[in-house]
Symmetry: C2
Subunit: 463 residues, 2 copies
């Protein structure tokens, strides 16, 4: 049963399992205690910290273990902002950071701080020059992920790091998606990661803070992990996390080459065999194991279900798969299609045959879902007689993604070239997907106008 969602969580690495079992026996006691069980736990904790620090590329006393990648990000951002409060209260981050960064930024803003969201290009990457322009005299912290969790695009961490260093601003790099594949390039001041993304257990995050970075932990004081992560250390999981990080790193170079080839295959075969598809993310500067694409006229949830029925586990950034019914903020920031979105992220060891089978199954599944939704065929039908209307309004109010786009595609052929179709819609995804459709179809997106309910999206037929 092929599981292609390693970017969410990876199955436990065999080394992690083994280390966890050993540490359950040897490392359950309180490492702060003076008796033998405590001393044994302390030795394990120290060894795990050294191993993790070596993989991160920092000193052991710069690294603490947190209870998750999310808490590492929250603690790192809050601590750096507090530590540099005298400098100012401005925070910069890319528009495609993990939600833990966005939530920490929102909390900072609610608390009176200011935030700049640095935009990304259509591939999902920030432009270092644009990032550099966002740095101000009162910037306390800059955040940039090493690679994006939804589309795999690598960020120019070294370049942004250099600009931050010049400006005297510490850079926090969220390396959750990439740390298993290799160390983050120099230039970071704070680094965060999450063990269950590299095959370690859940319940362990890393927070590294370079010596010399001003850092003042927020919230109630803590006696453990240098006061940077409250609560009793989850030692067996920490030991397993460190052991598996070392193990996946040993296999990373070879496995990256193999998975990169599989992902290249997905990128080209999907574009070839599935009509009306947009493969997103940078084709070169990207994580080795991750590829994302969006299919016009398809809803992501149905697609997920159909693939699940055929035993493929993938995820989606489409609005219909989120609890808030909004498309992924990453796809939105990139300005790419969000409907029928599928993220494939291959765990280490993925069999090529499973990927081939996925590529065989996918086109049929997409076609089936499109047919069920009454999606229009690819070629634009010539204007029907009688004479076409000068312009049309389509009412898609109350209809969810991908229906507004399907309705648009159905009638665009009915207006003459140069005339417009206005789509009334209140589904959040329409704001992203109607312009994306225009881009894919070579039609002109005129813009969005306010309406009594929802919005009016105006499209001009060009061809």
């Amino acid at each position: 049963m092929p599981y292609f969602d390693a970017a969410s969580a990876a199955p436990l690495h065999p080394v992690a399992r083994q280390a966890l079992l050993a540490a359950l026996d040897e490392g359950w006691a309180d490492p702060a205690r003076l008796y033998r069980e405590g001393r044994r736990a302390r030795l394990l904790l120290d060894a795990a910290r050294e191993a993790a620090a070596e993989a991160v590329g920092c000193r052991p006393d710069e690294l603490v273990f947190t209870s998750s990648g999310t808490t590492a990000v929250h603690a790192g951002i809050a601590g750096a902002l507090s530590g540099r409060r005298r400098v100012g209260r401005h925070l910069a981050h890319s528009a495609v950071e993990h939600s833990s960064v966005l939530h920490a930024a929102a909390a900072h803003e609610a608390d009176g701080g200011s935030v700049t969201e640095v935009p990304v290009d259509r591939s999902g990457a920030v432009d270092p020059a644009v990032y550099g322009d966002a740095l101000r005299a009162d910037t306390a912290l800059a955040c940039l992920q090493s690679a994006n969790h939804e589309v795999g695009t690598e960020q120019p961490v070294a370049e942004v790091g250099a600009l931050c260093a010049e400006a005297g601003v510490p850079l926090l790099v969220d390396a959750a998606q990439s740390l298993g594949w290799g160390p983050v390039p120099a230039g970071w001041s704070l680094l965060t990661a999450s063990a269950h993304k590299w095959g370690g257990p859940a319940g362990v995050g890393l927070l590294a803070v370079r010596k010399g970075v001003r850092f003042a932990p927020r919230g109630p004081a803590g006696e453990r992990e240098s006061g940077r992560a409250p609560g009793f250390e989850n030692l067996p999981a920490i030991v397993a996390a460190a052991a598996s990080l070392r193990a996946v790193r040993a296999e990373a170079a070879a496995e990256a080459v193999r998975l990169r080839a599989l992902v290249d295959r997905v990128r080209s075969v999907v574009a070839e065999r599935v009509p009306d598809v947009e493969v997103v993310g940078d084709p070169e500067r990207r994580l080795p194991h991750l590829v994302t694409f969006s299919c016009l006229y398809v809803d992501g949830e149905t697609l997920l279900h159909e693939l699940d029925r055929r035993e493929f586990s993938v995820s989606s950034g489409s609005s219909c798969t989120s609890s808030t019914l909004t498309p992924s903020h990453v796809l939105r920031a990139m300005g790419v299609l969000s409907e029928g979105n599928i993220r494939v992220s291959l765990p280490p060891g993925t069999a090529g045959a499973d990927v081939d089978r996925f590529l065989e199954v996918l086109p049929g599944v997409v076609a089936e879902v499109r047919e069920r939704l009454g999606a229009p065929g690819a070629p634009l039908s010539p204007p029907r007689s009688p004479a076409p209307a000068a312009s049309l309004v389509v009412d898609a109010l109350g209809r969810r993604c991908p229906i507004p786009v399907i309705e648009l595609a159905k009638v665009i052929g009915e207006v003459p070239v140069g005339a417009t179709v206005t789509v009334l819609a209140d589904d959040e995804a329409a704001r992203l997907d109607i312009p994306a459709w225009c881009e894919m179809r070579g039609q002109e997106y005129v813009g969005e106008e306010p309406a009594d309910r929802g919005s009016a999206y105006v499209v001009r037929r060009l061809g």
Copy 2:
């Protein structure tokens, strides 16, 4: 090798180990995902929540899993204070709460809130009437542990809960030490606990918030656990925690009777065989498995080391065993002796023979340490000739616990009845231990006076 520090951490219960292993295979995926691995994880999470809620005595939707008991306490206190901010910013808690409560209270105070610490009696319990008096019109939250983690004394939770209900103040009960033994009596509005105290794995805490209690999570928003515990759920550990809670509860009634008898034996034999010892904590209203005593003229760290050499693992609230060189805040609040302090907390299954061996070994170890320190014998020597000095000053500046008390005991016989000995000391423990020594020895503690360095503690010889 007898491990007698269950109140710090307990070895993993066999049921927890089994559940953990199963859940590592079945529950590693993201329970928020729609594919089969995610749905399987969701089922496990829901079942664990139901089992834990049943043991706590609440609805499943009132309970979330946190990453530790400490984070449960921090989140519970912060959320309740935020939720009731309009009522006021006053927080009440007992003086003997776990450090996580004290740290949260200190953070609240630093943030402009007000805090009342409710004192305890010599047994470590709050008086409900005194607690009731601490409740004010602007009290947003009251905190009271179910039982103390250092001396085992049970708190009058039901009585304080009734007073809180009358005053309309929610009561947060930290049940970390007692939840494995049974549910907390009615009267709580919020409840916290920690799995590794009952034989579950590290990395899991519980936070229950009764419906109707105003609660506003603080810090960055979270998408999991009702927004009350950020980060990816540590599902295998959660499953193991819930399974072991059910398992220890099934054995709790019988095991409590057995351990209570063993602890009674420790209480009486220690008092009988070790001279100059104070057994502390309520002898009746107490946890079944925990007993604490302090030995005059002994330093806790040496005692721990000597017991560890003989393969007994116990902990201590003496100042010399803490990183801050201050005696435990619990012993301080109780006003009992802190030097030579030992806490014995028996894990379920402790063999009676191990306890017997401990009781055989202990008196000799204490005597040995005392001899090494030159501690005075028990009977007060008659005044030496020539005629005794009218009063004496002993300079113990720069000397650590238990030396100031030993120096006092050495010279008290040299002054006439009615005269005083003044001990100059700058060790924090002296403030607690000199009055405690007076109490134990039937001498009068006159008081503490400022001095050039440290303090001057004045003792009057009564007999």
